[in-house]
């Protein structure tokens, strides 16, 4: 018993070191903040349309029986430039339904930006004051959500999506392989 007491510090160290080694080798990202919306019904959506003359965005737009991709972007966001071609490809090759939401972006800035780069969005909304972003648990732009036909959020990407995300999760999701 007394002996055990003297081994205790060593055991504590071993435990801690185990965690550290695990952390270093697991590829864990210490800055990842997780997401609470995944697995839940998509947060409420009630936004004016970005493109003039279109009807406003509502919750019904996310519950159409078909998978929907929701992308928050802004014209002032450099990484959004990087992921943009992937959305264009998704729209053109896969016929995906993509909803774009301009976050904290003036219409006069966002529209020309889309015009310049091409507009892959079936529907586009404007979240000028970032309130919808807050409801969606947004931490910045770009962020992307995959929503299934019943309106449940299945995945949440913080940061630009990559080729790898496209191949490994987004395409299988569109084909109905990811639940």
């Amino acid at each position: 018993m007394r002996r055990l007491l003297f081994i205790l510090p060593l055991l504590t160290l071993a435990l801690m070191a185990g965690f550290f080694a695990w952390s270093l080798t697991s590829g864990r990202d210490p800055a990842s903040i997780g997401s609470v919306v995944v697995g839940r019904p998509a947060p409420k959506l009630d936004l004016p349309a970005l493109r003039p003359g279109e009807p406003p965005l509502t919750d019904a737009d996310l519950r159409t029986g078909k998978p929907v991709i929701v992308n928050f972007f802004a014209s002032w966001c450099t990484p959004c430039l990087a992921e943009h071609p992937l959305f264009t490809r998704l729209r053109e090759r896969e016929g995906a339904t993509i909803v774009g939401i301009a976050w904290k972006n003036k219409r006069d800035d966002a529209l020309p930006w889309l015009k310049r780069l091409g507009d892959p969005f079936k529907l586009a909304g404007l979240d000028l004051d970032g309130k919808t972003g807050l409801d969606w648990g947004l931490s910045g732009v770009p962020e992307t959500y995959l929503i299934d036909g019943t309106g449940i959020v299945r995945r949440h990407y913080r940061g630009p999506i990559t080729e790898r995300d496209l191949n490994e999760t987004i395409l299988p999701f569109l084909k109905g392989a990811v639940k």
Partner: protein, 648 residues
């Protein structure tokens, strides 16, 4: 050429450290005096070689030698000289070299001032010190070589992070490292004692000055960092419970516990294995801090997470040093026989309570810092552990510690009565209760907790000074041992820190306002006018400067000039707060964003007693140094040497 010399001497230092880390150990176990004597020469040689390497890197920085990669990455020719020099340790490689240098210097100091140590103990301490050095030097040479060349040499460097271009932060790392690395000596002493199987009063007396010196430097280093955060981050906060801060607080807490338990070993021959454990832990926690900060396992530090191999190396090193020490401890410590018996209410009992609470505090910080990591790995749940958590857990634990702190010195060794001790503290008790009442009625009636904490601050000061009353009465204050005087200063200074932090965080006044030149606002009895906005040019930045004229009752009082600096090389902005202090409160102003049309955001704070936080910390370290100069710690030192000064 000179960088290669530096690199070469670093390699030589590694070789010397290898010799120093092995042969004297063999010598000590065989009783071979010649092998043991080798340790001393090797320690001095190693220190000289690392100093040479450090000098070489400094030379590269001072002359802006951009053929050295490290200089390119962290320096710029237009930087002021001070920051060229502090740039040496303002980066990973250079700061590791500084670690290695301080480690080697401490080794040399043991070699020089350790004449009073038995040969075997000294050679073992030096050998263990060298083994730690081997780890650091190998780490430098194999993963973080500061002397790497770049070809072709770029015309100029990338500059140093503007936040680090600050006098406070220039000296913060060296002081902090003196603290961290200083505990390597106590670690070495602990391991040597375990190897010898002997821990006695003499051992405690030898360890104490080293622990004390390391502790003083660590105190100063932490205080300087906190001061820097206070004036550069721009909203008057001084401690943020950030993982990096916590990493420095843990060894400080363990070191403080060590200082106290070592007294029990020295005076009463008890608490031996516990003290040895603390001596091991103080350094282990320093290493843990280094690991956390450099490996990228935590967010605060994730900017360092460039190289997982580096993290693995430090982890392996941490395991080797800490694990080795603790394994030896598990094996040998049970044989250490405790000596003196004592009653729970006694000086020993009070010191044990001190240790218990300090260790709980350290455990709180450790758990709070690492818990998000553990939980994330085990369950994937993300939590944040921030200031409100520590305010709810750490701060309440301080209350019993502070309460007992003043009583302890009045208790006799072995067996004591609580009541007489409290009677001698009755004045302190009354004064601090009065302080609570005053705080409640005159300052802020809403926050009972703040008033209570304020009372504790007063209790610490008056209660610590109370132990001098007998001496004052009998006129024997001059014969007071330095160690006792140091203790009184350190204890009372803690009260100063408490008063400063309570007052500034609970009773500050703030105002933010958008102002255009010519605008005037009233703020806490002062009238503040934004006289003008200027553009100023510094050596490597351009700045917007606001000139705020502060007046009281129509009479000019002071002028504050907060700035926003744009560092041109990095294109980064840094706020330069303007602080006017009268010793009792800080008048603190920062300049926010703005333009001539809408005006500029000006933030004003009145932080009562804020300067006391750092005054108290400085006093605390002073108390340590006073105690360090005690005669008792010099016994055995040759008479020609004026004092035992381990901390060179």
């Amino acid at each position: 050429m000179i960088p290669e010399l530096g690199h070469f001497s670093l390699i030589l230092a590694l070789a010397v450290a290898l010799v120093q880390g092995t042969l004297p150990l063999v010598g000590a176990s065989r009783g071979d005096l010649r092998l043991m004597a080798l340790g001393r020469t090797a320690a001095l040689t190693q220190a000289f070689l690392v100093l040479l390497a450090f000098g070489a890197l400094t030379q590269a920085y001072v002359t802006s030698d951009f053929s050295v990669l490290n200089v390119v990455d962290n320096s710029h020719s237009a930087k002021p000289l001070l920051y060229k020099i502090s740039g040496v340790w303002g980066n990973h490689e250079g700061s590791m070299l500084l670690w290695a240098l301080i480690l080697a210097l401490f080794g040399a100091a043991v070699a020089v001032f350790g004449n009073n140590l038995p040969d075997t103990l000294r050679s073992r301490v030096l050998a263990i010190q060298a083994l730690i050095g081997v780890g650091f030097l190998a780490f430098l040479l194999f993963t973080s070589n500061p002397f790497q060349r770049v070809f072709p040499a770029p015309p100029d460097g990338n500059g140093l992070n503007p936040l680090l271009q600050d006098p406070g932060l220039a000296f913060h790392p060296p002081l902090l490292y003196l603290g961290y690395v200083g505990f390597s000596v106590t670690y070495a002493f602990a391991v040597a004692a375990l190897l010898e199987g002997r821990v006695d009063a003499a051992w405690a007396r030898w360890v104490r000055p080293w622990a004390l010196a390391a502790w003083c430097f660590l105190t100063l280093g932490i205080a300087l960092g906190s001061w820097w955060a206070y004036y550069i981050l721009g909203w008057g906060g001084f401690w943020f419970w950030d993982p990096v801060e916590n990493a420095s607080l843990m060894p400080w807490l363990a070191g403080t516990a060590l200082l106290h338990s070592a007294i029990v070993v020295e005076k009463r021959d008890a608490l031996k294995s516990w003290t040895v454990l603390l001596a091991l832990l103080a350094f282990s926690l320093s290493l843990l801090g280094t690991f956390l900060v450099r490996s990228g396992v935590l967010t605060s530090v994730h900017a360092f997470a460039q190289d997982p191999a580096r993290g693995m190396f430090i982890l392996a090193f941490l395991l080797f040093v800490t694990g080795g020490g603790l394994a030896l401890y598990a094996w040998r410590a049970p044989q250490l026989q405790g000596g003196g018996l004592f009653q729970p209410v006694s000086r020993e009992g009070a010191l044990i309570l001190n240790n218990l609470l300090l260790c709980t505090l350290a455990a709180t910080v450790l758990l709070g810092t690492l818990y998000p990591l553990f939980l994330d790995l085990l369950t994937g749940n993300k939590v944040s552990v921030g200031p409100p958590f520590f305010n709810a857990t750490f701060v309440p634990l301080c209350a019993p510690l502070f309460a007992a702190l003043c009583v302890g010195p009045f208790l006799g060794w072995k067996r004591a009565e609580l009541w007489p001790a409290l009677m001698r503290l009755r004045v302190a008790l009354v004064v601090s209760l009065a302080a609570i009442v005053v705080a409640m009625t005159m300052i802020d009636s809403r926050s009972t907790l703040a008033a209570l904490a304020f009372g504790f601050g007063v209790w610490l000061i008056v209660g610590s000074l109370a132990s001098l009353t007998d001496r004052v009465r009998s006129g024997t204050l001059r014969t007071l041992p330095r160690s006792t005087l140091g203790m009184v200063i350190a204890h009372a200074s803690l009260g100063v820190v408490v008063l400063g932090s309570v007052a500034t965080s609970s009773w500050n006044t703030e105002l933010m306002h958008t102002m255009k030149p010519g605008d005037r606002i009233d703020f806490a009895g002062y009238s503040v006018q934004l006289e003008r906005m200027d553009e100023v040019r510094g050596p490597n930045y351009i700045a917007e400067r606001a000139t705020l004229a502060v007046s009281v009752g129509g009479k000019p009082y002071t002028v504050l000039q907060p700035e926003r600096r744009l560092f041109t090389v990095q294109r980064r902005q840094v706020a330069e707060t303007a602080i006017q202090t009268n010793g009792l409160r800080d008048f603190y102003a920062t300049l926010g964003e703005g333009n001539p049309q809408q005006g500029w955001v000006i933030r004003l704070y009145l932080n009562p007693l804020a300067p006391w936080i750092w005054l108290g910390a400085a006093l605390c370290a002073l108390g340590g140094f006073v105690s360090l100069s005690d005669r008792r710690l010099r016994i055995g030192a040759p008479s020609r040497k004026p004092a035992l000064q381990p901390a060179e």
